[in-house]
């Protein structure tokens, strides 16, 4: 009788714990602003710098584009073959009167090309990472002549959607996955090297967002496996 009672209590406890575990998903919204530099001339084009504000401050970041198939610039020619390829492959022109501009999609919609990747590292040792499902860069055609001048390329806006994978989560994010988005500017700061500044505003009002959760990141067992595997190697 006692044994049956104990067994019943044990089963009940397991059920209670199971239900509690299943329902106790933690949701976190992280905000961030960024400031860094990089260049489409680099291989791979990687923009890296500081997390300047928000819940993940202080820290560092990088966003990297996949440049498979991009040509290198030939210094012996007047044109920039690499940039010409990027503009021709990713950008399309919108001739709307008064709103003339180029929109560039990385990767191009429906192309199946590799997505840009990203990582955020806080100074406290927490890490987040994943892919950008799409990064959009828009360049205004200020004189509406449908020709992209150097001065027009120099000042751009950029935005992107992010997916955070559990396998890149570390520290307090080791069991988290999620989605997010960011927006900002991408301006040439050195015309000689084509170095550009990526700015996601702002330290006082961080616009970048990551919506994270520590449950349902992968199907059932896989979710636990990632945590277990990572804990083994820590």
């Amino acid at each position: 009788m006692n044994r049956k009672l104990l067994l019943g209590i044990a089963v009940l406890c397991i059920l209670v714990f199971a239900v509690a575990s299943a329902s106790a998903i933690t949701f976190r919204t992280e905000r961030f602003s960024l400031n860094g530099t990089g260049s489409f001339m680099a291989h791979p084009p990687t923009f890296a710098g500081q997390i300047t504000g928000g819940t993940l401050f202080p820290g560092t970041f990088w966003i990297s584009f996949n440049d498979a198939g991009w040509p290198t610039d030939n210094p012996g020619t007047p044109q920039n073959e690499r940039l010409d390829y990027v503009i021709a492959h990713y950008f399309h022109y919108d001739p709307t009167v008064g709103g003339e501009s180029w929109d560039g999609y990385f990767p191009p919609s429906g192309s199946g090309e590799p997505m840009p990747t990203w990582r955020l590292f806080t100074a406290a040792g927490d890490t987040l990472g994943g892919s950008c499902t799409q990064i959009t860069i828009t360049i205004k055609d200020l004189n509406a002549n449908a020709v992209m001048e150097t001065s027009e390329y120099a000042a751009k806006v950029i935005s992107g959607n992010m997916v955070a994978y559990i396998n890149y989560g570390g520290g307090c994010f080791r069991n988290f996955c999620g989605t997010g988005s960011f927006s900002g500017t991408l301006n040439v700061v050195n015309a000689g090297t084509m170095e550009e500044e990526l700015y996601v505003p702002s330290p006082s009002l961080p616009s970048g967002r990551l919506y994270m959760k520590d449950g349902g990141c992968t199907v059932g067992v896989e979710s636990s496996s990632w945590g277990t595997i990572k804990s083994i190697y820590r």
Binding site: T96, Y105, S109
Partner: protein, 226 residues
């Protein structure tokens, strides 16, 4: 007669005194950046033309308290009388599934809509500005079954870029530029085509585009004297 002439001069002087402080206060720098936070509601499935609209609740005082709206040209979409058909059309034609990130991405631009979506910000005292935009929405396939389940339609992230046309009013008159925005979309009941709640951040780069107008004017003036 002299009395009448003096009166007219006096009126001009008064008008000058009244107008000059207004002009002085309305003078903004050649370029400025405006950042703000916004939220609002909209429903692209049961409304035609779909409008997402709301208010700016934090950020730069130039736009704080202003109303905003985004309008999407749905002339190429099935009518909203059957929202399921309308959703299926959008999803089947414009959503791209990525098996690595387990997500669908839909771009709302001149390819997926009849024309590029348009936007406007209306501030009661400072004026209006607007232009075109591109919005990119991403849904996550949480259970990785390559099917966008109803619960997965309850939350999405978005980002986009916009162009500020030089057709603003008030203190925004003469400005053009570009901008960028991002945030999230939440839907409490997608199965019954409930309204979307959107929240996000926006950053605008405004620059004085009146120089361009002057150039046009000079050309026009010179052509008149040719």
């Amino acid at each position: 007669m002299i009395m009448k002439g003096n009166m007219i001069i006096g009126l001009f002087l008064i008008a000058g005194v009244v107008i000059s402080p207004v002009c002085a206060s309305a003078q903004l720098p050649e370029a400025l950046s405006v950042q703000f936070e916004f939220d609002g509601m909209g429903n692209a499935m049961i409304n035609s033309l779909p409008v997402y609209a709301g208010s700016i609740y934090a950020g730069d005082p130039l736009v704080l308290g202003a109303d905003w709206w985004i309008r999407i040209d749905d002339s190429t979409w099935p009518p909203p009388s059957n929202p399921q058909v309308r959703w299926d059309y959008l999803f089947n034609n414009f959503a791209t599934y990525d098996a690595n990130s387990f997500s669908w991405t839909i771009v709302f631009d001149e390819a997926s809509c009849g024309t590029k979506p348009v936007w406007e910000i209306d501030h009661v005292t400072n004026g209006t500005m607007g232009g075109t935009l591109v919005v990119v929405v991403t849904f996550t396939d949480w259970d990785q079954d390559e099917t966008l389940d109803i619960d997965e339609r309850m939350f999405a992230v978005y980002s986009g870029n916009l162009i500020i046309m030089k057709y603003g009013t008030g203190i925004f008159a003469g400005y053009c530029g570009d901008g960028t925005f991002n945030g999230s979309i939440q839907n409490p009941d997608p199965a019954n085509w409930a309204d979307d709640y959107v929240e996000g951040s926006c950053f605008l780069n405004l620059q004085n585009c009146q120089i361009g107008t002057r150039e046009t004017s000079w050309t026009a003036i010179k052509s008149m004297y040719r």
